[in-house]
Symmetry: C2
Subunit: 370 residues, 2 copies
């Protein structure tokens, strides 16, 4: 191998973000169990004299940004062909017009202080939506407590992106209680075992596929492409390479890739690395499309990286890929001598926005929360 | 200027795709007028003995790929805060589970031969959705005629991406007839005038902003970022640079960009060009976010390209940017000595897939169409 990854992690991973990935299997199953036991859908609540009745929804809107927002994408991918109601993902301050009293709005912000998500949460309350919030504290929890809206607390103390299994588990448990999806207890159990395997096979002592992928990317632009089911995973991996490794990255999706992106590869760009997400259970059409696309790229002289989903359940497939990508992005960071936990510009922008416009304060006033 | 763009267009634009962009204002207003006059929502239709009743919808699903699929994104951006029903965009073979007899499914394929879109159309019929198709002929038109489902014909004879105004105009006219949106006649008129201005200001004799943008990009990766309202425009411009200019490109969206992508810029990558989509009517929060983000990138030493929406209506803003980006991508192609009309790998892949799996033939059988 030549590199001592353990030593590099010790030197550069100042916040110890790597260690959180090692606990994903526990974070997933523990959070799922706790939320299943503790969360129940209220019959109705009363917000400033207005009654919001819960149950009987016909639309789901999942709001969040970044490491919290990706939960909506992953849930959409896993359950849009199971759920009998539309699942819509919103990554912005505002809700679409259609949100009404039969809309379940799940507002997810790991920190609880994301101004876009708090804004969407407040709009949900004002429109009489059936709002549920998820956070590890912060303003979102405070607002929920003061207004009496149902809130799910997840364990505190890490970077939002590393908390993914907590947020996914909480969201699954909520969706089950609203009968949007069936019981995922078995999937959570299987997924937890698969995540443990992924950790073992990619430990710093062995490196594994995660290290290979990190080496293949280097300081190039990783271009991650999955078929439609893995749209969210591709976005997640892009985000991980952005935040942990500090590289520009691209997320793309097949079959749409074949209608435009592929032409960008005809002249064999040298600074971009294609990474395809694969699945042993791809149906015949998907397999043909992925392999044809890869063949065309190879015929242009390009080298393709593949990463394969693990496990049987959709949950295991999706989270195993997220974990592999997460580890690869952490390894890439320390190989480049960078701290994977540090996200300087994000913090800077959050402070800028907060000081400039005081959005949260004005929402506080709008809801008459002291 | 130094380059003779007219001469380059004459030499490299073999299919004359550039000339189609010059007619966008006419394509938009003519198609809108014709579809408004000729299309009416049927009360009910009978497909193989099953009655599909039209009207009273509570969900809209817009299906299409590439140059046809982008219509769904643009319509979503323009009308999600106006429409009282969810608008969902599907770029794949399959419809989400929620599609039922109260779902309007608009299947758009300029050629009429896109297998993903034909598949989604067939699923729509089988599920009893209120299906409407849009094409310039092909299998989609044939299926619609044989089954008796409402079909909108748009003018033939160009590349799907260059036909954007026809497809947008047809979709707007359909959505009006289903009362999803109000009358857009005034917007179409204004937009048409704005498009004419954009053409004038960016003629090859003057070059204009389109040529400046093409020069700034060169053979680098254009990274196009708009705030949420311009998510579809960013994707469209990415697609145009892919297809016309043969470069890898990225589409991104604010505020989500600030939660991950921005970190990828911290080390000032030299092969990527940031292009921000701007709008003189941005609200206060959006303006603060875009300018803060640009300031942070500039403080890292990066040079930012801006492109500004034109006109008053959303339609004018969106299509003026699409036209400017389209012209820039054509200019970039010919500056690089490439034919903007040629998309070798897309054609190759379509043929591969069609020969390998014969998806359309099997759909034909499924619907008993001889």
């Amino acid at each position: 191998m030549g590199v001592n990854l353990l030593e590099l992690l010790r030197r550069y991973d100042k916040t110890g973000i790597y260690n959180v990935y090692l606990r994903w299997h526990e974070l997933l199953s523990d959070t799922y169990r706790v939320v299943r036991e503790s969360f129940s859908v209220p019959r109705e609540i009363n917000v400033h004299g207005k009654v919001i009745r819960y149950g009987d929804i016909n639309k789901v809107v999942i709001c969040g940004m970044g490491g919290s927002g990706i939960v909506g994408d992953l849930v959409y991918d896993m359950y849009q062909d199971v759920a009998e109601v539309p699942i819509v993902v919103i990554k912005d301050y505002h809700l679409p017009r259609f949100c009404d009293e039969r809309t379940l709005v799940i507002a997810i912000s790991y920190s609880g202080n994301t101004e876009e998500t708090i804004s969407a949460f407040v709009e949900g309350i004002e429109r009489g939506c059936q709002v549920v919030s998820v956070s590890s504290g912060g303003v979102l929890e405070e607002f929920a407590k003061k207004l009496g809206t149902p809130h799910v607390a997840v364990p505190r103390g890490t970077q939002p992106r590393a908390a993914l299994p907590c947020l996914v588990a909480a969201t699954l448990a909520i969706l089950e209680k609203f009968n949007v999806i069936g019981d995922t207890g078995g999937d959570v159990k299987e997924c937890s075992a698969v995540l443990r395997d992924v950790i073992e096979e990619n430990r710093p002592e062995v490196g594994g596929r995660a290290l290979e992928l990190a080496n293949a990317i280097g300081d190039k632009v990783p271009f991650i492409c999955g078929h439609t089911f893995y749209r969210g995973v591709a976005i997640r991996l892009k985000n991980e390479f952005n935040e942990n490794s500090k590289v520009v990255a691209v997320a793309s999706t097949l079959p749409e890739f074949d209608h435009n992106d592929i032409v960008g590869w005809e002249l064999k760009p040298s600074n971009v690395v294609p990474v395809f997400i694969r699945d042993r259970d791809e149906d015949e059409v998907t397999r043909a499309r992925v392999t044809c696309t890869e063949d065309v790229l190879r015929s242009l002289g390009l080298r393709i990286e593949e990463i394969w989903a693990r496990g049987r359940s959709r949950l295991a497939k999706v989270l195993s890929l997220c974990l592999l990508g997460g580890l690869a992005s952490v390894y890439l960071a320390v190989l480049r001598g960078l701290d994977p936990g540090e996200v300087v510009t994000i913090s800077l922008l959050k402070r800028y926005m907060s000081e400039k416009l005081r959005v949260v304060e004005s929402l506080r006033k709008r809801l008459c929360i002291e």
